[in-house]
Amino acid sequence: MLITALAGLVVVVGEYFQFAQNMNVLTTFNTWFQVAQTVAFPIGLISLFLVHGANVQRKRQRWVLSLLLIVVTSIYLVVSLITGPRAGTAMDWVYQGYISPAGSTLYGIIAFVITSCTFRTFRFRSREATVLVVAALFILIAQSPLGGLLWSKWGTIGDWIVLVPSNAASRAIVLGAYLGGFATAIRVLLGIERAHIGGMAK
């Protein structure tokens, strides 16, 4: 709790006080943060091996997937350490041939799920729901070339919906969220909020 309070105070002082800016307090603190996060990577890796190693050892449900994860991670780690991030290396081959297509495929699946979900859930159940569905469809068409082909003003009206009514609501939500975040930060600094260290709020 004391570490959290001190760290928070350093950031506040470093950001708002001239003497602290002259002393490069925030630069030093940011560098510490970078170093700390670098250390967190191997800790995460050790944790991953411990958790999934235990799964394999005790033959828990789906232990084969844990084994696969350990094998793939180990191979990629060793290959990356040996070759570095250079084109034409084994690391680049794994990246280009597996990680990139797999990531894109996962993202592409969204198109299938969204289409299926619109069929099941986009219902004109009430006046509010009708406004929501009609606005969603309008923006959807405005964002694709179809809108421009159907009517030249479609895109302009779509932009107006996004920039004016949608924006007003969005801004209210964002402001509310940031005020909430600010209040939480004050509570953390004062030691009232202790969830991040496993405690309970006072």
Binding site: N24, L26, T27, F29, N30, T31, F33, Q34, Q37, T38, F41, G84, P85, R86, A87, G88, D92, Y95, I99, S100, P101, A102, G103, S104, Y107, G108, A111, F112, I114, T115, S116, T118, F119, R120, T121, F122, R123, F124, R125, V133, L137, I139, L140, I141, Q143, S144, P145, L146, G148, L149, G155, T156, D159, V162, L163, S166, N167, S170, R171, V174
Partner: protein
């Protein structure tokens, strides 16, 4: 069981199959779809063309392979505009490990397009594309972990935040472009362009580098995030906002540089039509079966 009831019990795999057919059809038999230039996309072009010629643009590709179909074309067109305008590009990010690798390929593609010459030694610090050269016209400092604090450090002390090495592990002091850069701020850069898929993204770069460093920020986002970021664009906090592959496609069409942005537009159009049909069909089922369920 009538038609509406049968439609209501439709196996979702049929819908997935129709989506698959549309995707395959638009890939195998592409239809040329015009992509209109909207004022917002034109604003992104004006943003790049408004930066002083010969100055440096910092490009933060905060994305991963999942969103490359939307953001790779954006990086390519922004880089084409930048090179055509005589800007130098410094690539670097703080949140997405694979972003700089994706962006490097697009910047090389842009350099090849602008010069009309294929790149030699691509993906290395010796890359040369006509008269555009790695280290002189662009440098990739790579992924430097740490999110917001790293972005803040890049603004204050670039060499410390990047550990003084580029994406390839070579010293930044060895390149004419990066040897004198001390911060991502208005002293060394004229603009900051961020590709965003979440956090950290445009908002974090705005707070940690653009505002303290007095840099105008341009933001490229996936289509789903467009409305979220419109808030910052409308308020003037972002000087430009490029949305989705459609935005990139419109610039590709204007530059006569067809790429992935334009290629995906017919698929997007047919997918939109399918979604509209799905909503109409879903509501037909809902209203036709509502009374029967109640009974």
């Amino acid at each position: 069981m009538d038609f509406a009831q049968r439609l209501g019990k439709l196996d979702p795999r049929w819908i997935w199959a129709i989506v698959m057919v549309i995707v395959f059809a638009s890939v195998l038999a592409p239809v040329s779809v015009p992509v209109p230039m909207d004022p917002q996309t034109q604003g992104a072009i004006n943003y790049i063309n408004g930066l002083p010629k010969g100055s440096n643009l910092f490009l933060a590709p905060e994305y991963s392979p999942g969103s490359y179909p939307e953001l790779d074309p954006q990086v390519r067109v922004i880089s084409i505009l930048a090179f055509q305008h005589g800007l130098h590009i410094v690539i670097g990010d703080s949140g997405f490990a694979l972003g700089p690798q994706l962006a490097e390929a697009q910047v090389e593609a842009a350099a090849a397009f602008v010069t009309g010459k294929a790149c030699t030694n691509p993906g290395t610090p010796q890359t040369v594309c006509g008269d555009l050269k790695y280290g002189v016209n662009w440098v990739n400092v790579g992924y430097k972990q740490g999110n917001g604090p790293t972005e803040n450090n890049m603004e204050r002390n670039f060499q410390t935040a990047t550990q003084g090495v580029d994406f390839y592990g070579q010293p930044l002091s060895g390149y004419p472009l990066s040897k004198d850069i001390q911060g991502v701020n208005s002293k060394y850069f004229s603009g900051l362009w961020v590709e965003d898929t979440g956090s950290p993204g445009c908002q974090e770069w705005l707070a940690n580098a653009a505002i303290p460093g007095n840099l105008p920020l341009g933001c490229g986002v996936i289509i789903m995030e467009g409305p979220t970021h419109a808030t910052f664009y409308a308020a003037g906090q972002y000087k430009a906002l490029l949305v989705g592959a459609r935005g990139a496609g419109a610039i590709e069409e204007k530059l006569k540089a067809p790429g992935l942005g334009l290629a995906g537009q017919e698929t997007a159009m047919f997918a939109s039509i399918l979604i509209v049909i799905a909503v109409i069909a879903g509501n037909y089922v809902y209203f036709k079966t509502k009374g029967k369920k109640a009974a």
